[in-house]
Every structure is written in structure tokens, then in C-alpha cells.
């Protein structure tokens, strides 16, 4: 229950940060920011999965 509310809030905050970046630095910087964050997210998930697999072994 709390986790879902927390995830919604974090998503909304991330969107608000994106709006700020777009306002200050322009749409190109916002797109680059989204790309970098997405890449970081994929790397984080991959790293977590690799860590879990190492623990299981």
C-alpha cells in the first residue's frame, strides 16, 4: 500500500524535475536527461540482478 503511493510520488517528483530541467536548459537537455536516467535505471536493474544471481550461487 505504502510502496505504491511512494512509487507514484517519486514518479511525480521525477516528472517535476524534468519540467524544471526543460524550463532552465531547454528541451534538448531534457531529452538527454531522460536518456541518461533511463540508461542509469537499466544499469541499476542489471547490477541488482547480477548481484542476486551471485548471492544464489
Amino acid at each position: 500500500m505504502v510502496t505504491l503511493l511512494k512509487n507514484i510520488l517519486l514518479t511525480a517528483i521525477a516528472l517535476a524535475v524534468l519540467v524544471i530541467v526543460e524550463h532552465w536548459l531547454g528541451i534538448t537537455a531534457a531529452f538527454i536527461g531522460v536518456g541518461v536516467c533511463f540508461l542509469a535505471y537499466v544499469l541499476l536493474i542489471t547490477w541488482r540482478q547480477m548481484r542476486d544471481e551471485t548471492d544464489e550461487n
Binding site: 500500500m1 505504502v2 503511493l5 507514484i8 510520488l9 511525480a12 516528472l15 517535476a16 519540467v19 524550463h23
Partner: protein, 188 residues
């Protein structure tokens, strides 16, 4: 998905609470399912919120439509999520874990009542029958009515003392205004 009669029953329950009838809480669905369904009230009050946003931001000329919708939309979601999340931590801390769902259900559906109060204020403002000072007074009275309503909900639904309920209402009021202030700054 929530049925229409569930929406009407819930709104009737919070209307009874507005009339200071503690049995109003019995009209609300206080199950976990009812907890999530109470967030549907955000959809119910969305048209009135849209009117309020349009009036509030009508003076801003250099703000684009997409920016306005994005910022206000994010603010709206944050407003709906933050207080239940904060209360999820406060309720166990004050020993009211069992009443948490009941309180949030009542709190969420109470938005249906307070937007009606704001709708009346907006109507008076648009009609132009009251001057600036009178309108400010009406706005102040509306705010006091809404805050006392939230105080009553906290007292009945959470079963806390009058002082405790006042503290929660003050916290909710400050939090809501902080979120609103951030949203308004994003518009500039």
C-alpha cells in the same frame, strides 16, 4: 472499477460528516479495496479543479498550455498522494494504525465536499456581486469551514484528541501549501 452508487454513498457519508454526524463514517467503505477506491474521488473532482486552475492562472500570459497542464497535473497527483503517504507513517507512530484506512477514505472523499465549497466561492467571484475585500472574507470563511471539517474527520476517523486533530490539520495545511507554492514557482 468503482460503481456509481459507491461514489454516491461515499459522498453522502462525507456529507453526513460535514454536518457533524459521526455515523457518516458508516457509509464509507473502509476496506483495503475501499482505500484504493477513495482515490477515485480525484477523478470526480477533476472538472471543478480544472475550472479552478483556469481561473487561478488566467493572469499568466507567458505560460504555455502544455506547461500549465503538466505542472498543475503533477501538482494534483502529488497533492493526492503525499498526505496519505505521510499519514501511513504518522498513524502507527501515534498508535492509530487500525484507523488509518478509515481516516484516509474519509479524507479523500471529503474532497468532494470542499470542492463544492470552493465552487460556491468561484461562482461568487465570477458573478462579481462581491468586491475584493468581501471576496477575501468569503475565501477566509471557506478556508476555516474546510479546516474545521478536516479537523472533525481526523477526530472521528482517527479517534484522536482535539489537539491532536488540530496538529494533523495544521500539518496537512502546511504540506498542501508547500506543494502548491512549488507548483506556482514552476510556472514562472
Amino acid at each position: 472499477m468503482i460503481a456509481r452508487h459507491e461514489v454516491l454513498l461515499s459522498l453522502y457519508g462525507v456529507w453526513r460528516l460535514f454536518l457533524r454526524d459521526p455515523r457518516g463514517i458508516e457509509w464509507l467503505d473502509v476496506s483495503i479495496e475501499g482505500f484504493w477506491k477513495s482515490f477515485f474521488c480525484a477523478v470526480v473532482v477533476l472538472p471543478i479543479f480544472g475550472v479552478w486552475v483556469f481561473i487561478r492562472n488566467s493572469g499568466l500570459e507567458d505560460v504555455g498550455f502544455i506547461r500549465l497542464v503538466t505542472v498543475e497535473g503533477i501538482g494534483y497527483v502529488v497533492q493526492w498522494v503525499t498526505w496519505p503517504l505521510v499519514m501511513a507513517y504518522i498513524a502507527p507512530a501515534i498508535g492509530r494504525d487500525d484507523n488509518f484506512i478509515r481516516y484516509i477514505v474519509a479524507f479523500n472523499w471529503s474532497a468532494g465536499i470542499y470542492v463544492c465549497i470552493y465552487l460556491i466561492v468561484i461562482g461568487i467571484k465570477l458573478s462579481g456581486i462581491v468586491s475584493g475585500g468581501g471576496l477575501a472574507l468569503i475565501g477566509l470563511v471557506a478556508a476555516i469551514v474546510i479546516l474545521s471539517y478536516h479537523w472533525y474527520i481526523a477526530r472521528i476517523a482517527l479517534a484522536v484528541s482535539g489537539g491532536g486533530a488540530a496538529g494533523l490539520v495544521a500539518g496537512e495545511f502546511v504540506l498542501a501549501h508547500m506543494i502548491d507554492a512549488v507548483g506556482q514557482n514552476l510556472m514562472r
